[in-house]
């Protein structure tokens, strides 16, 4: 997995690339926690369009950050999941608690 992060006015864009499984889960979580501690974030946007594989270890990192932001009154959006990743999101129930958008722009505009 490679990771690109961008912070812009209260929104943290997270753009992982490649495979998100157990071997990267700890590092992924740590980087996110570090960034959430550093900046005031009320909206976390996971752009999953470059994620080719995810399993429950990877989803756990997303869910954990969701729980944290929800406590603080923030929100989490998911963007651009490919079909195989999207099936996992559906099956896990993550899509019932987080909103899904086609693009980062849409996530910004519609997540109010």
């Amino acid at each position: 997995m490679e990771l690109d992060l961008e912070y812009r006015q209260g929104t943290l864009f997270v753009r992982p690339r490649g495979e998100v499984d157990l071997s990267v889960a700890d590092a992924f979580r740590d980087v996110l926690e570090e960034n959430l501690a550093k900046n005031p974030v009320n909206h976390l946007v996971f752009n999953l369009s470059k994620v080719t594989f995810i399993d429950s270890s990877g989803l756990g990192v997303i869910l954990g950050r969701y729980k944290r932001l929800k406590q603080q009154g923030g929100r989490v959006s998911l963007v651009g999941a490919l079909p195989q990743v999207r099936r996992i999101l559906v099956l896990s129930g993550l899509l019932t608690v987080m909103n899904e958008y086609a693009s980062e722009e849409e996530a910004l505009a519609r997540a109010g």
């Binding site: 499984d21 429950s56 195989q84 099956l91």
Partner: protein
């Protein structure tokens, strides 16, 4: 053509990806759709991650064995560890049940959803054997049915 292979490796997180690629390469000897192969990869990933985290408590010196068998159009997988074992298998199989607060308790749910069969045998202190099957669907490519 019937076939069998056995893979043994150390309980390192880095081997989760290795295991799923290996099983997918073996499975591709059957006429699985790409979608089926993706599902098999998730199931293997979950079973091997469980062996690493729960079975061996993240210690790298455990041995994980996968026995892959192709028999009459069906893939059978056995993912074996010789670690801690599961005291209450029934409980462990429940959705959202996890002994680790950081985890989702969806590993067995994914294995069950993505394979045709799941069977878990475990002896506390001895280890765990997860057996999963998946058959090639005879009704043509699965994607066309499901989407």
């Amino acid at each position: 053509m019937d076939n069998q292979a056995k893979l043994e490796f150390k309980s390192l997180a880095a081997n989760v990806a290795f295991a799923r690629v290996t099983v997918a390469a073996f499975a591709s000897q059957l006429d699985f759709t790409l979608n089926d192969l993706e599902e098999i990869k998730v199931a293997v990933s979950e079973a091997v991650a469980n062996a690493v985290i729960h079975g061996y408590d993240n210690q790298p010196d455990g041995i994980i064995t996968i026995i892959m068998t192709i028999r009459e159009g069906t893939l059978e997988l056995k993912v074996i560890d010789y670690g801690r074992g599961i005291a209450n298998v029934k409980k462990a199989l429940e959705p959202s049940f996890s002994t680790d607060p950081e985890r989702m308790g969806l590993g067995f749910v994914f294995m069950q959803s993505f394979m045709d069969n799941l069977h878990v045998e475990s002896t506390p202190g001895k280890g765990t054997v997860v057996t999963m099957n998946k058959s090639v669907s005879l009704s043509g490519p699965k994607e066309q049915v499901e989407h």
